[in-house]
């Protein structure tokens, strides 16, 4: 994750309607970067899932949208941060193992398949950080 980063836009997620705001902005940025319909739908959906996780499981947090450049490649990097309960046993949750955290796990594993780079850090009691990147392709 060493690509130089351009303009960063930050959003707080304090209500359910903030999810829609983040989603819309991600869509705009993706389209500005020239993402095709499939890539746009993928990153917008991933953003929606991850923003919803922040709202539903952590009851609030922030997100950031950045355009990234890596030589010839351009893409969008999203960050979702919260100070929620954190996720214990992350690998199992990502594999859809816990029924109680099912929607969380599904949202995470689903999003993971929609992006090119996926990074997650979570400490029970401290919070969670999810970073995803999607590159434009020809």
């Amino acid at each position: 994750m060493d690509a130089p980063v351009d303009a960063v836009e930050r959003f707080t997620i304090q209500s359910e309607s903030d999810i829609a705001l983040v989603r819309r902005r991600v869509r705009e940025v993706a389209q500005e970067l020239g993402f095709d319909a499939f890539a746009t739908a993928a990153i917008t959906t991933a953003a929606s899932e991850l923003a919803r996780n922040v709202w539903t499981h952590a009851h609030g947090g922030d997100s950031a949208i950045a355009r990234v450049l890596d030589g010839r490649r351009k893409g969008v990097r999203l960050e979702f941060r919260d100070r929620g309960p954190g996720i214990p046993d992350l690998p199992r949750v990502l594999a859809g193992g816990y029924s109680t955290a099912r929607s969380l796990g599904l949202g995470l594993s689903g999003s993971k398949r929609l992006v090119d780079e996926f990074h997650i850090e979570s400490t029970p009691g401290r919070g969670t950080l999810v970073e995803v990147t999607k590159w434009a392709r020809y």
């Binding site: 359910e16 309607s17 999810i19 829609a20 989603r23 869509r27 319909a37 499939f38 746009t40 739908a41 993928a42 917008t44 959906t45 929606s48 899932e49 919803r52 929607s103 599904l106 949202g107 594993s109 689903g110 999003s111 398949r113 929609l114």
Partner: protein
């Protein structure tokens, strides 16, 4: 609280609802209420949900749609989801939500034709 209800059309014994806007937050609840209320009042045998206007369906929306179908089924109404966009279908499948158990058709006409046949499973 006043809210705009989504227009529901009647085609013979089938209800047709076209989703124009994002199906999130309170809109989703209102959508379900409106649809099920209409089924209750009309006793329609079929329901077609046209989502050609949706450029994104995440797991939340997918659940709302699938649940609505299941609720309708409990009331004796068979539902068909039509008009899904290519990028929406691709995203759902990539995420791992192929929405099995939800009947689909290309558009309203195909949906009506499907409803006229016996349900496969």
């Amino acid at each position: 609280m006043k809210r705009d209800s989504i227009p529901i059309l009647r085609v013979g014994d089938t209800l047709l609802i076209t989703v124009h806007t994002e199906l999130h937050d309170t809109v989703a609840e209102a959508f379900q209420e409106d649809v099920l209320g209409a089924i209750e009042r009309s006793g329609a045998a079929g329901l077609i949900i046209d989502i050609s206007g949706l450029d994104m369906v995440d797991s939340y929306v997918a659940r709302v749609l699938a649940d609505t179908g299941r609720m309708a089924r409990l009331m004796g109404t068979r539902s068909v989801l039509v008009g899904m966009r290519p990028e929406v279908a691709a995203t759902l499948v990539r995420m791992g939500y192929p929405m099995e158990g939800v009947e689909t058709a290309l558009g309203v006409d195909d949906g009506l034709a499907l409803l006229a046949t016996a349900r496969v499973r």
